[in-house]
């Protein structure tokens, strides 16, 4: 069995707030293999973006570890971190605010090379220019764009610039945080195709964070469903869609509006209520207050169990 490229082990991230400890990510385990995509889905505030940032050490984890090729990067010194940083990159959700408006497209794509590349090895300016040209072409950015500024580009093109900025370092692993959520469907399709092409050509691994289940199904090999910082279900993509077991996953899948007219009159599973507060949460399953199947026992413990090879779920009450 080959080793996972990136692995999270009992990862926790808490934030101190005036009202108490906010449990953003609670005891999360995952494995991402080379050339594969792990989809992370959940509603806003479930901790999926925090998880992505913690994996890249943009935030220091409260406890647990992140293994890159078997080494715990959370224990790395600053210097060691610089070396792995170029292999682990991120694409952000909002292509409007994640690019410096005062830098040209070429400048934006060159910057990571100068910052991170410059620390580890010196590259000649010609080599940089060549590299940037190649990356721009790879990401579908015409060369006459190089002197334009972000405000002159539409959302799809800006997202391509964001992608080029991470690709320029030849990363092995990219955390994509809602990269297509702000885009129109036709542009979204272009960017998803591009991401999948790049993955195939460079055997990239992705952690793909989104709230759009159709998108996640399309792009992922495995999917992790999060609810208020906890993983409630983790399964290969096909298994999750064919046989969802957790009541929350089932409700989530049922709520997706589709253009399939046959689904129009399906029996609806609507979950009542709102996400409760993640500050000093009660022990046990955090979905319990909204769950139609909740019992007293649910308020005590929350544990993922393997019900089939690779299919982990914290509760099987939703299974048919």
């Amino acid at each position: 069995m080959n080793e996972p490229l990136v692995e999270g082990v009992n990862l926790c991230k808490y934030f101190k707030t005036p009202r108490g400890l906010l449990h953003a990510v609670e005891d999360v385990n995952f494995r991402i293999y080379e050339g594969k995509t792990l989809g992370v889905v959940g509603e806003s505030g479930c901790g999926k973006s925090t998880l992505g940032r913690t994996v890249l050490r943009l935030q220091q984890a409260t406890s647990g570890s992140v293994l890159y090729k078997g080494e715990d990067i959370l224990k790395f010194s600053k210097h060691e971190m610089h070396k792995v940083q170029r292999n682990m990159q991120m694409i952000f959700q909002d292509p409007y605010s994640s690019l410096d408006p005062r830098m040209s497209i070429r400048g934006l794509i060159t910057e990571p090379l100068q910052v991170i590349g410059g620390r580890t090895q010196s590259i000649s300016s010609e080599a940089i220019k060549e590299k940037v040209d190649a990356i721009m072409e790879m990401c579908g950015l015409p060369s006459h764009y190089s002197n334009l500024y972000p405000h002159e580009l539409d959302g799809g093109m800006r997202q391509r610039v964001g992608l080029a900025r991470s690709m320029v370092l030849d990363p092995k692993f990219i955390v994509c945080d809602e990269p297509v959520s702000a885009l129109d469907v036709s542009i979204q399709a272009q960017i998803l195709n591009l991401l999948m092409d790049l993955q195939e050509q460079h055997s990239l691994s992705y952690m793909f964070i989104t709230h759009d289940l159709a998108v996640v199904k399309h792009i992922s090999d495995a999917i992790m469903v999060m609810y208020m910082g906890q993983v409630v279900e983790y399964a290969p993509s096909k298994v999750l869609f064919d046989n969802p077991m957790h009541p929350y996953t089932r409700a989530l899948l049922n709520s997706i509006p589709t253009i399939d007219l046959a689904r129009r009159n399906r029996e609806r599973i609507t979950i009542r209520g709102e996400v409760s507060s993640p500050i000093n949460p009660a022990p046990g399953c955090r979905f319990a207050p909204r769950c139609p199947y909740a019992t007293e026992a649910c308020k005590v413990s929350h544990k993922l169990e393997e019900v089939a090879p690779g299919h982990l779920v914290s509760c099987t009450k939703g299974a048919r």
Binding site: D184, V185, A251, S255, P257, R264
Partner: protein
Amino acid sequence: MTEKKKESEYLLEVKDLHVQYNTDDAIVYAVNGLNLSLKRGEKLGLVGETGAGKTTLALSILQLLPKRVGQIASGSIKYQGEELLGKPDSYMLGLRGRRISMIFQDPMTSLNPTKSVGDQVFEVLHLHFPNLSKAEKEAKVDQMLQMVGIPSSRKGEYPHQFSGGMKQRIVIAMALIAEPELLLADEPTTALDVTIQAQILELMKRLKDEFNSAVVLITHDLGVVAEFCDNVSVIYNGRVVEYGSVEKIFGSNAKHPYTEGLINCLPSLAIDEARLKPIGGHMVDPRHLIQGCCFADRCQHCMPICKTEPPVMHEKDGHMILCHLYDKTEEAK
């Protein structure tokens, strides 16, 4: 006689509407000859990409276009048979919020942060029904909040104390408290999660049944339209390129190439496909008016005629398509 009867059949009728924005650099043609009609209690979906003119249309109906910049160049908007264009502001004030309400996209910015939510809902009643007693108004506010699922014990709280979904429900409560005949909902669920979206759509359906209000749902989400609406207008470059019932638009094979493109680029839950099929090219630059068909540059079926002559609307059993492709099929028959 029959003419008149036909007119009152529709709650809202928009005919050949042209709206432009006069900016410093250029004239932006946002809506170019748009037609629309809506019956009482009907749920109409308006779909299209960013910049198609969906929101401009809604703002034109309420005459809320930005002053001096936004201009209705020509056309007609009739509400219950009465022409709205040219009506004084005082008349529109009586209409807005009372008979036609609008829900804006972003619930975070459409509430006043310095007033409690109860007061904000109360204010609408106070404006439109000044004759009700205070106790009656309070009772109505409580009842409305309850209906949208906000406990009335929380009405003294401020917007920041509520979640996004709850804020959107408060906005809906404000829009519906005067029991309008028409609700314009501009992307009401775009900022929300799917489970909350399902709750809001369910709520809007229930309210429609209760008051028999007509709803115009503006969205770019085809799935939401397919599940919520009776009829769909697909908008491109400020005009309707296809109109029909949900069954016709999503069920039949005859489609405008743009609608087909939109449907094809959605990742499907049912089928596994390796690659998505995006629509090539870009949206038309709205600063220029198009000679032929507005979709010609991106269309896979583009013919020479598409570049030179604007297509005409083809109708078959209430399914309308604006495309030259359907000229040919009719001739062949």
